[in-house]
Symmetry: C2
Subunit: 386 residues, 2 copies
């Protein structure tokens, strides 16, 4: 381990970061964005080509002048394996430096037992390791639950107890990066989705309960141990109502299928997502009244988060989209009435997430790529190749 020389690969790291943020970017555009002289651009791309971090292909000419080149990940370059674990299925993809998904897999769980599922994920890691060898630099895993230092603390939908996720990569020598699925889908929105370019963004996603994250310059506020973003457990609701999380009055209890069932005086549904979709299909007065209540709680809570964080934009995903669509006016009224007056002049837009199915996968990949494009990681990659 030679100590990394200060600044050695600084510009190279910046170039690769550009590549992950704006896939298909040209060399000339990168040079403009980073304010590099053409000489430096020539030099840095040559160096990156030499170490198999990128290749260049001629770009279609854009008017007069010598045509530039499109930067692409090198065919022998580093990759990450992104995994997205869901309640009844899992997905994976191998991701190169430009964020493109290769080799996508989708499989339903045959068993939902934790050990079986993790074993299947582990097999996928081993397969990728065989196929990509030393090119596989990192495994990034999205999980529907609270994650703390690569441990799953609670996963209500999976009904798993506390669990060490490290076994997914154990023995392969590939580092693991596990994160909450809502957080990661927020990362995807902030990087290449509806919140692209926003300095501060709030992302929320309703499935069972509500998850989300605060994103500052595309970086999620993960907290001390990675458990940040549990907005569902802020006490926006009725304090007399206990939440399975251990607290009381959680927002969670006001905005999903469980809330709809309560308003409709029905027992708590086994599958709150399916139940919500069912209620949304109903047209009777009771169902619409229940939806109205839930949408009000949603709009009101979002307004509270806007007051607290002053985001440029709020993105919402999952059931939040059909719920809001079912009562657009109710939502808008609740949202606006919950804002502090000075926000009402230009309230942050509440936009539907654009990465809907593969948000967690893309977000997981993005955070892993952040590591790969860091200066020390590039220096280590170069050192390993020699």
């Amino acid at each position: 381990m030679t100590p990394v020389r200060r600044g050695q690969w600084q510009t190279a790291a910046d170039v690769l970061t550009q590549l992950t943020r704006r896939p298909g970017i040209t060399r000339a555009a990168v040079a403009r964005a980073l304010r590099l002289s053409t000489g430096s651009a020539t030099e840095v791309t040559a160096r990156l080509r030499d170490v198999h971090l990128l290749t260049e292909v001629p770009a279609p000419s854009q008017g007069r002048g010598r045509p530039t080149t499109v930067l692409q990940p090198h065919p022998q370059g580093p990759v990450v394996l992104a995994l997205d674990l869901r309640q009844s299925s899992w997905r994976s993809a191998v991701v190169a430096l430009d964020g493109s998904l290769q080799d996508p897999q989708y499989k339903r769980h045959r068993s939902r037992r934790a050990q079986v599922v993790l074993k299947n994920l582990r097999r996928e890691v081993e397969l990728a390791k065989q196929r990509y060898g030393a090119r596989l630099q990192m495994v990034s895993l999205a999980v529907p639950g609270t994650v703390r230092d690569n441990h799953l603390m609670q996963a209500p939908t999976l009904e798993w107890v506390e669990l060490d996720l490290a076994q997914v990569t154990e023995g392969t020598g590939v580092p693991l990066l596990a994160g909450n699925d809502a957080t990661l889908s927020g990362v995807a929105e902030a990087r290449t989705g509806a919140a692209a370019g926003a300095g501060t963004a709030v992302h929320l996603i309703i499935e069972v309960g509500i998850g989300g994250t605060l994103l500052i310059d595309g970086v999620p506020a993960q907290g001390a141990s990675g458990a940040g973003g549990e907005y569902g457990h802020m006490p926006f609701g009725d304090r007399s109502r206990p939440c399975p999380c251990g607290a009381r009055g959680c927002w969670d209890l006001e905005i999903d299928g469980r809330a709809l069932a309560r308003h409709l005086k029905q027992p708590t549904p086994d599958d709150p997502v399916a139940y919500t979709e069912e209620v949304l299909r109903r047209t009777d007065r009771a169902a619409r009244a229940a939806v109205t209540k839930v949408v009000t709680a949603l709009g009101y809570g979002i307004a509270g988060l806007v007051n607290a964080h002053d985001p440029d934009v709020v993105t919402v995903g999952g059931l939040a989209i059909p719920l809001r669509a079912a009562a657009e006016d109710t939502f808008t009224e609740a949202y606006l009435s919950g804002l502090m007056t000075f926000h009402r002049g230009a309230p942050p837009p509440v936009l539907p997430a654009t990465h809907q199915p593969d948000g967690p996968l893309r977000g997981a990949a993005a955070l892993a790529l952040d590591h790969l494009t860091s200066e020390p990681a590039i220096a280590a990659w170069v050192a390993n190749r020699s």
Copy 2:
């Protein structure tokens, strides 16, 4: 404006940042912290000495070995003027690169009219400009209200309307950096106070209402326009209660003197801070019951913020300290019962702020110093001197 050479002053910037974060640090300690070779340390300190950014004085010997030197700001080096505007007074200090306060001033407002107060602040800026000349690099202003791009949006305690704060420095050519006082006192705590070293910290301060901020690695989450941190306007309270901010059910209304008065069935006090102190001195049952209610709302809300942000530590200031002390057990119970179960094993400590009177001043200075110790600012300083 010559374009800044990439990396030119990178290490120099790192050294100055160390100086602001740990005043009185020695050259050897900086070299260790930044993993600099002794040769580089010699070089960078010499360079910084040459451009009047720091001086060295012999350090008291610490056992064997050649004694090192203490790094100090240069007597001809850059300074910032920190201003802290309060309801009935204002304070100022000139701050050098090590964060030491020089020339502290404290004045009560003779008139509270916005124009008069701002004129007085402006006079202080002009005085500093006369005394320090080109050494004065920035003015940093803490304001008890919501600040957005150097505009004061609302300041309930001052009863001012929207206001452009730029007039405080206009014509002097010195850039202004205005921020919310609660946010800035949080910065002070996160840098050199009770939250020093915390990756994620939540800071809260009760005066009239509650202000605060989320701090990530000592950087406040200021939001899109600098209005972030208005935790007092999250709907933790009774939704039927309208808040002067325009929303309803704000936490603000549950935790200050206005809440105490409501519980005691008295009219809203003119000075909620003095009223709170008065109630805290009372020992009758009604007063204690009112305090208990307020403290419960405080503990419960803090728990919600901990669930959402997963901080390493929470710091509290202002009336939160005596309120909590008046009902310590009530607070602890409310706090713990509001946490998600998995947080209860090691709940983040809720610590009293240590910078009590001069938190906003020190925080304002710290953010200004962040600018001064940035690479482009150093390059600009060097360019201006030649």
